[in-house]
């Protein structure tokens, strides 16, 4: 039986998909691209930035991932 929490998740994912015109495949495709183009790239940059103590680059990495993950997450609780 679906709990209210489950329903909340469904609702949020639906809203996420709605952002891509209701195209579920595109939503997940964007998620895969997020992994390859944003997450992996920034993990690599983060490692190098930390070793160089480049705090600006660390900030940029975190900011990029936060912004990109927010694109497919609807964070408002229902």
């Amino acid at each position: 039986m679906a709990t209210s929490e489950d329903q909340m998740q469904v609702f949020n994912i639906k809203k996420g998909i709605d952002q891509y015109g209701g195209d579920e495949e595109m939503y997940y495709d964007m998620m895969y691209r997020f992994e390859e183009l944003t997450l992996d790239e920034n993990l690599t940059k983060l490692y190098n930035s930390l070793l160089k103590k480049n705090w600006h680059e660390v900030y940029v990495c975190a900011h990029s991932v936060k912004g990109a993950s927010g694109l497919f997450l609807i964070l408002q609780k229902v």
């Binding site: 930390l50 660390v58 991932v65």
Partner: protein, 142 residues
Amino acid sequence: MIVIHKIGYLDAEILYHRAGILEGRSKAREEIKDESQYDPNDLLRMEKEIVEDSLRFIDASIDVKRWIAERKGKDFDPTALEENSNDSRLIAMLNYIFFAEREISKVFGVKIPPSRGRDGGYKVDTSNNKSAPCAACKCNIF
């Protein structure tokens, strides 16, 4: 049909949240231009916190990658990565992350979060219980 990836969704939300914390801390450190105005111990403490937040961020990233790998139908068992994974790119990236994590931990003298790290064993959370307050930063976003 909407497929519910409940755990994955929450993993992504944790990633978003931890990225925000790291963003804030690194921004604060970046804005310190004249370091002579600060106690070196305070600066060191700030930097250590950034590294700890980075490791938590990496931790959340791995969970999101696991979720996406499962969604793609890829085998992803970090406890036996080489034997069971069928995605060479994923293996390469994870090995790189594990290596980077160990290096960061070593250089800054910061411990890898206890749930993670290949040397200590990758503990896969199968309890499906992500509703508790964030263990790393003690925030209570859920």
